[in-house]
Amino acid sequence: MNQLTQYYADTLRAAARGGGKVVPRGGGSKDFYGRATVGEILSLADYRGIINYDPTELVLTARAGTPLAEIEALLAEQNQCLAFEPPHFGSGATLGGAVAAGLSGPRRMQTGPLRDFVLGTKIMDGRGDILKFGGEVMKNVAGFDVSRLLAGSLGSFSLILEVSVKVLPRPPYEATLRMAVPEAEALARLNSWGGQPLPLAASAWYDGQLTLRLAGAHAAVDAACSKLGGSRLEADAASAFWNSVREQQDAFFGGGEALWRLAVPTTAAPLSVPGRQFIEWGGGLRWWKSDAPASVIRSAAQAVGGNATLFRGGDRRDERFTPLPLAQLRLHQGLKKAFDPNNVFDASRLYAELA
């Protein structure tokens, strides 16, 4: 592994000398995400392996290139999981890539997003220096929380070498319900249920059908099922459905239009955007398949206090994420410079102005 990190450092230093750019990559499963990259791919696929896993401490530490599938299989042996259900989007998905992409899956509203589970990291900054932040314990307020800053950073200022994540027991029991409800009514119900002590683990609304996943103690799930109504899906069908949502294999995600990801307050009223819509996260995540101009979609999201990301399709040279206000952009540039003074990491994948 030391040879690999030496190679990474040499690559970064050579890029600094030659004015080139470096694009870190895990398994390449999220290559589609963000703007088109500029520079030489630096693969972390070989920097892999689980370093420590202690089920009773609820922590796992692995090298960035470790496949998510390998980690999840090991956790499953102890009846534990990555509760934020990171989408893989391909068999090669790695832990480092998941953290760099910062994406969470269907259970996000019950358990919190990926960044909440990042306890520590080992990184290589743009100088080629190896740094360690956070650690393997749940509670740690020594120093600034650089580890969580890396969640969603898309390789724009550092290489992620190792990550310690908090893991959780798998819920003892699950059930999935389906009911026919129009959009506005579904949103109202989801928000009202969200304010009650119900074991609501995930939700998906599409085309007049609301699907709910409940996860928790057996008795609590059963009680919630009778309270919420609808019809219950078979366990196999349910797990296939939630997997198709997490991995975007559901029929909704097919078709030629661009896929937009709108993160909005859960209470936002139904959005009027031309196209088809799929709602997750209790109303907080609204996917649109649409060929409407970016300005139309961005302003629909902004009008309700949210933001829009051009997730798949469209022109990779355009802005994909919602542009930052000027004061924020300057701070981003300052932080980028702190980690990467020679600007060797390709930050244009996130924002053209950060490059």
């Binding site: 997003p113 190896i130 393997e136 314990v137 600034f144 969200g194 020679n342």
Partner: protein, 504 residues
Amino acid sequence: MNDATSVDSAPGIKEPDFSGIDRAALFAELARVLPADCLLIEHEDIKPYECDGLSAYRELPLAVALPREEAQVAAVLKICRKLGVPVVARGAGTGLSAGALPHKFGVILSLARFNRILKVDPAARLAVVQPGVRNLAISEAAAPFGLYYAPDPSSQIACTIGGNVAENSGGVHCLKYGLTVHNLIALRILTIDGELLELGSRAPDTPGFELLALFTGSEGLLGVVTEVTVKLTPKPQLAQCVLAAFDDVVKAGDAVAKIIAAGIIPAGLEMMDQPATAAVEQFVRAGYPLDAKAILLVEADGTPEEVAEEIAAVRKVLDGAGATEIRVSRDENERLKFWAGRKAAFPAAGRISPDYYCMDGTIPRRRLGEMLEAITQMEHKYGLRCINVFHAGDGNLHPLILFDANKPGELERTEEFGAEILELSVRLGGTITGEHGVGFEKINSMCVQFASPELTMFHRVKQAFDPAGLLNPGKAVPTLHRCAEFGRMHVHHGQLPHPDLPRF
């Protein structure tokens, strides 16, 4: 990088010298933007601000600003930026790491008057509050809607949400419900330039870097919080608590691991050692078994069905783990009584000893036995007693060292005792602070936990927010000079960092 193509000089090597500040200019400028009742400069007025909850460290500031409006906060910051004056934000001053300790040549910026709850939105399950609002007041305002703010530091009747954000505070329920960082939705902050920034948003994701998480726990070094949007959680229908006694602390520690291994994440999971139970029992009569070497408190919450299921599972594990006695609270009164002892641990320490010093290291739980054994040896070494309360679920240990500040040398011995516990926490794979922050108190211990490349990076991050280093200088992140003087610099890859720096 030696062949760096751009200028990359490292900040944070030496502490800047602020002694040349022009006081007259500062007072005049502050008086121009603040009404008379919002600016204190007389000795007797500023004296109450000389320390926070850790009163061993005291310092008088040049002035205390108590603004009422966000625009006044911005104006104060701009003045300090222009004149190069340090600014120390302050909430309720309950901090335990001297984070709000004044700077001798600086201004205390108190947010105490920002005490309004701006909105409770039950449908969106959030509250928008000013930074000086007390932690408990948020839960009280949310209670009519069946909601509450989950993080519950023991100081919750007094501490402010702004202080909680700055420290990333925890409570006895954070194993299941998270720390402050897990319960924040958005922040409004002012930079040292008086510029307003919104971090986070009401949408579940915010574009750009994770600045909300970076800012949380930054101890007033990156900006001043002027508004906080917090997540509200539905109040569980029922909570029940199990009290278990053990004839051996290691057995109690193993029981905790077994509960987690059984797939249970209790709402609360606390441990107290025998001296701690004895101390609180004199004080609150919680009915704790005094012959036990350690007791555990395990709380389950949720629907009645859920609680019954979890309590049964917990009981089974505790039985198997060799508990000598198991009691389950029969009603809310009894549950509160079980907790009363744990929550009174700090005041009880203050009762049985003239002074006490609370440590805050976190360790991997499996190392608990080693840690407690080492603490016992340190009690002999330093000739001081120590009682231990432990957020066992997440490994956060609060040894309370008992001492008498009036006896010459005791405070110094206590500090050394504390520092040794923290060094051991790092060696056991943990950290020097789980929830109280580094502040001024643990600034030297940071040299043990981090090597100079990490410390330098912290200074660079601060520089991106606060280029002149005016926000809470001398706290949280030590300069490399300080670490060299302290002499216990972390040795990185077998090499002394910055060999060019003089060592004292």
